[in-house]
Amino acid sequence: MSLIVAEDLAKSYGRVVAVDGLSLSLDEGSVTGLIGPNGAGKTTTIKMVLGLLKPDKGWVKVFGQDPWDNTAIRSMIGVVYEKAFFPAHQKTLEYLQRVCRVFGVPESRAMEVLELVDLQEASDRQIKALSAGMLQKFAIAHALVHKPKLIVADEMTANLDPQARSELLDLVLRLHKDEKVTFLLSSHILPELSMVCDSVAIINRGKVWAFGKLTELYEKYAVGIIRISTDSSYALESEIKKLNYVKELESDIRGVSVRVAEGKEDELYEDVLKLAKKIKAKILGIETGSASLQELYRLAISGKERK
């Protein structure tokens, strides 16, 4: 069953097109990552899913219903924004107890969720006195109060230290495994998403450029990819570009990712070593079919760009 279905969504802010014909479907029990560069349309998409923005075109259904001003679905959704927003002068535990009353769950749940995010010691503190990281943890506790079936999080780990990030990702996995919570997570930190997501939607320029199970996407975009780690990636890239059997090529500061015509892998190894010698580049390693989510993302984007 699909918990979120979006069809041909479009949203503009004046002349700026934020989302342009985006379609998406999120299965129950999945952990789906929304990835894309700044301004790709991730936050706008999430806001339309949450009923905060009205699409200019297209539609979105959450639990089969239009999310705009829809109170029926809100008890089933937990929301975490990139920056957490709460009444600043209230105490953490008191505010969560209030939220318990809003959702009709026992007030004891407030302390449970504070403990879940390791904030029990800040239960008597005013919200405005929390650090950025603590505030983000508090936002997560706030989203969990009513035991939602779906959690939508926009850059959930943005303000957290590495330890807290790791704990939070564990929490996502635990909630997904034990309580079958479905997640829609947007993040710039792709290694994190690869740890928890089973599906990803790559968004760029307001459109979904690639969407599916991670395994399927790897198969589609990363099989046949050879990753060459080097200290002179851009120089090496311009040399490799001249090889006529190279089908796709991407580079970053740490290396070059290459897809070649079938059966040409061995030829590439030999050529790369020759070219490296020629330009005095140091080859640090060559791996086959081992693209990270980051590379997958780059390959999907670059593949589409070329088309």
Binding site: K47, L50, G51, L52, L53, K54, D69, T71, A72, R74, S75, I77, G78, V79, Y81, K83, F85, F86, P87, A88, H89, Q90, Y95, R98, V99, R101, V102, F103, G104, H142, A143
Partner: protein
């Protein structure tokens, strides 16, 4: 689960923020000071009125008008603070987004916020004013309750209109700073416009300008009715009621627009 609890919790949360220490204490103190200090003058001034109505009505009008002058200004400041700083910062910082994750309709959220921003301020204002008047002059308040209510109604409609305009601006701009400036400008502009209209009325002996202003600020018509300075315009009581009614219709329209925008159009 009933629908009442989310509404009450959001309202209680809004009240907690709008009237946190020392705002409630400070404004209640200022209301009380304003009411009691000016009430003593009010009765004296009121007895000097001559234009329309019975002597008791004129006394009641004079007493209420004099006691509410300073507290009304304090009420306006409190409402401006609650709308521009309270609702404005909730929109700007995103607390409204958080409320939108609760099982409560948008209009319910706005009602909860407005009951806190306006309703509590009004209860506080009227509660202290009426109590003060009753303590100081019980023989005025109860026998002349109609006059007392009409005087408050006529004096409150313009501040409520400004509050409505500020609400629209705050919702549209999603921040409170500009709406606060607009509110203050509108508040002081009324005095200037009234003065200009008065001069124009004296010069032309035409009450048209004053009549137009009375549709948004009926306290002007009421003032003419109970102790008017213009011989060429002493409105009838029914006319005063019409001006007051029209002014509240305008206020209602402005708030209706605010609700409609918040419920149907506000994108966050």
């Amino acid at each position: 689960m009933g629908k009442g609890k989310p509404f009450l919790e959001v309202m209680s949360s809004a009240i907690h923020e709008d009237y946190r220490f020392p705002f409630l204490e400070l404004f209640a103190f200022l209301y009380a000071i304003g009411t009691f200090v000016f009430a003593s003058f009010g009765v004296t001034i009121g007895t000097q009125g001559t234009a329309q109505g019975t002597t008791n009505e004129i006394i009641a009008y004079g007493a209420v008008s004099s006691t509410l002058s300073l507290p009304l200004f304090i009420f306006i400041i409190l409402v401006f603070k609650n709308i521009a700083y309270g609702l404005g910062s909730d929109l700007e910082k995103g607390i409204i987004q958080t409320y939108f994750s609760y099982p409560l309709r948008r209009r319910g959220i706005l009602t909860a916020k407005l009951l806190s921003a306006l309703g509590i301020a009004l209860i506080l204002f009227l509660g202290i004013q009426l109590s003060g008047l009753y303590i100081l002059a019980p023989d005025i308040v109860l026998p002349q309750l109609g006059t007392v209510i009409l005087t408050y109604a006529a004096n409150l409609s313009y501040p409520l209109l400004i509050a409505g305009i500020m609400l629209l601006l705050t919702l549209k701009l999603r921040r409170g700073g500009i709406s606060l400036i607009a509110g203050l400008v509108l508040y002081f502009a009324m005095s200037i416009i009234s003065s200009i209209a008065t001069v124009f009325a004296w010069a032309s002996e035409s009450p048209l300008g004053l009549q137009i202003i009375s549709m948004i600020n009926p306290s002007l018509a009421l003032q003419q009715y109970y102790g008017g300075t213009f011989e060429f315009w002493i409105p009838a009581f029914s006319e005063v009621l019409i001006y007051t009614g029209v002014s509240y219709v305008i206020v209602a329209i402005v708030f209706f627009l605010g609700y409609t925008y918040f419920s149907r159009r506000l994108n966050l």
